[in-house]
Symmetry: C2
Subunit: 418 residues, 2 copies
């Protein structure tokens, strides 16, 4: 029996002119995957009747489930609801619980009179099952045709997520037989993709045909993922565990974490387990390292704070980088980042300090200091260490890679590898 299959259709011209990055699809794919639904493809189409209808036709052929997001708002460019009404031969009726909910939002929360446009949000095709939306004014809808379930959800990310978790996933679990899709993911640092492939060549050659190995390079690090699908949950997980142990052993020298976590979560967990703290001193990353360390729940246990010393004056006044350093070797130097890493640790009374200073582009380079040159420093009570990197990306990517490399150096310092 083939696994339950799904397609995701996202609707909105903004996706086709590149104005918006689609983060909804990744969330939906992840949620479906977790309950054993295989996502066959993801399609983005514009706010056009013909394109949406064609995408619905195509998705219905191979799938058990179609998830549609977007186009449910109160404005004229939101055409999904009338289109689905026509597609499934329905007629519009008022959904009373949704109307009561919307009325309550306007009267008691916004404290503004409700207008006809808002009232229309409570209209739904009579051929759908309404998925009540506690988090917003546009209800979700479920249509069924020839054993295919079509879920229509608003595109607003937090509303979509709430409906997926509270309506879509439970409905799928009640109505479809679950296969198990299982993954094991680990993160490596310090080795390129092709050398890593060489290192685990034997392991890869001996993999059973039912298990796939994927390489996911990012930020100068490589994630490895094993994936299998089976009706036998226990056997699959046993196979994956055995193979994953072999894989971990093969890459042990470069292993950062055997969880599917970003670098900063792995390092945060390390700090929490040791009851230790870190402070940041950022120049060229402008707060991005602080953001990575603090964006996950529980970060106040290990992240104390930081100084964003974007201007050189702040490096001197807040982090004791002497004017002598600035006028001789300059702000992008071993001397500057080592002083920054020491000062921020001492002043914020933490166990570790991390610092960066570099030239992120597109301007600011000199002959001695090319675009993408960045110094990273880390310090503990016993030690200070720094390293220079030469990056070759655009500004934003340089910032992201620098932040990840800085957190990796912190990790190496914590585990005494530098």
């Amino acid at each position: 029996m083939k696994p339950t299959q799904a397609s995701i259709i996202t609707i909105g011209d903004e996706l086709l002119i590149g104005q918006v990055i689609d983060t909804n699809s990744a969330f939906i794919a992840q949620a479906l995957n977790k309950i054993g639904v295989k996502v066959l493809n993801r399609v983005a189409v514009g706010d056009e009747k013909e394109a949406i209808s064609k995408a619905l036709d195509a998705a219905a052929i191979n799938n058990d489930i179609v998830i549609i997001t977007g186009g449910l708002g109160p404005t004229a460019d939101d055409i999904t609801k009338p289109l689905l009404n026509e597609y499934f031969n329905g007629k519009m009726i008022i959904h009373e619980p949704t109307l009561a909910h919307i009325t309550n939002i306007f009267e008691n929360i916004h404290k503004r009179p409700m207008i006809e446009r808002n009232r229309k949000q409570a209209e739904v095709p009579d051929v759908c099952e309404v998925l009540f939306n506690e988090t917003g004014t546009a209800p979700g809808m479920l249509f069924k045709r020839n054993n295919v379930f079509f879920f229509s959800l608003p595109g607003v990310p937090h509303e979509m997520r709430w409906l997926i978790q509270n309506h879509v996933i439970p409905t799928i679990q009640q109505n479809f037989k679950a296969h198990t899709i299982a993954h094991r993911t680990l993160l490596t640092a310090g080795i390129g993709e092709s050398f890593l492939a060489e290192l685990i060549k034997d392991f890869e050659n001996e993999l059973p045909a039912s298990i796939k190995l994927a390489y996911l390079p990012n930020f100068g690090m490589v994630r490895l993922r094993l994936t299998g699908t089976s009706e036998d949950d226990v056997a699959l997980n046993k196979t994956l565990d055995t193979l994953f142990d072999q894989l971990k052993l093969a890459v042990t020298e470069f292993l950062v974490t055997d969880a599917d976590d970003p670098m900063e979560v792995a390092v945060g967990n390390l700090l929490k387990s040791k009851n230790q703290t870190v402070a940041t001193a950022e120049s060229c990353t402008g707060g991005y390292i602080g953001h990575l360390l603090s964006k996950h729940a529980g970060s106040s246990q290990f992240y104390t704070g930081g100084v964003i010393s974007y201007d050189n004056r702040i490096k001197t006044e807040f982090l004791d980088v002497s004017t002598k350093i600035l006028t001789t070797v300059g702000a992008v130097s071993k001397e500057a980042v080592e002083q920054m890493a020491i000062s921020v640790r001492e002043k914020m009374k933490t166990d570790y300090g991390v610092s960066v200073s570099g030239i992120m582009g597109p301007a600011g380079q000199t002959i001695e200091k090319p675009l993408g040159m960045v110094w990273i420093g880390v310090s503990s009570k016993e030690k200070v260490y720094s390293k220079v990197f030469y990056l070759r990306f655009d500004r934003l990517r340089n910032i992201e890679v620098t932040a990840n490399q800085a957190i990796n150096l912190l990790r190496l310092l914590i585990i005494n590898k530098i």
Copy 2:
């Protein structure tokens, strides 16, 4: 004549299990749009021969151009190149300039011996035109069949971008008649989507059929976009300019910027035009405001730096928030953020200070201070202002919305609206 049309196909299992967010598609769509190519749809498929072949078949039907990214790496899960070779009935040959380029990268940059796996990166189907890739080891490829151009590009974002700009766009411009697709975008703040629609109802009703109006709500703000397509570049731009002037007038009270820029760029431009500077004091956003202000080129002209006072101790020691404030009204209070906004401005000697303190979730709330409660403060030499918000998103979204609202309050202070 219909405009030149394209489909984008992204390849990779990671896109279908939600492990990775697809940012490449948005970049490609934007680049195509700029030269008048209409993107009909975007499709993401897994690393599976059948799924990729089907997507190629489907894309070839309605389009002039198909852009394929991903699956060109040196590892076994990268199947795009052999698949395209078979699909277009080619045979593999070595591309000498690429081989020389890869050899140079390994000998002179990585300073490691090149392995067979790397050498294979220089192999290409003999039926394609090679798009030399200066930025990496995987060359781009162009296949032609029945007047459809198929471009295959690596999925590594900076390599993909370089190939789009240096090969794909020039090739399309040489071979296809350009239509003009033109947009006008503005950003509003302080008004919800449905009330905005009500405000511009008359304008929207009188829009010519050839011009589309889109509402893009995000971060509690709404972007409005007018779009038109025509073979007559001059007439289209004239029509759009006239309509855009009307639209700006209709929303003038809520207008942030009439450029397609994020909020922080609009505020950065405002500061640059006045030769003024800003410093940040961030608690719950942990550096994200600093990141937004510094991620764009030229930000050192107006962004001086900041303090990330994640731990309350840092609020006291670096930003003079008294222990009395912390023990009576607490860190999430009017008193705390006003002191933070004043101190960071004075200590960093800037014209403005911005501060935030709140409860981003999923934990940390009390009865008086619910999840999502956040105080934002802004200060100038003459004034200090603060406002409380109650957000209802998840942690990351709360951070993003808080940062955007803080930058908006800074904007209102700069233009004397608060």
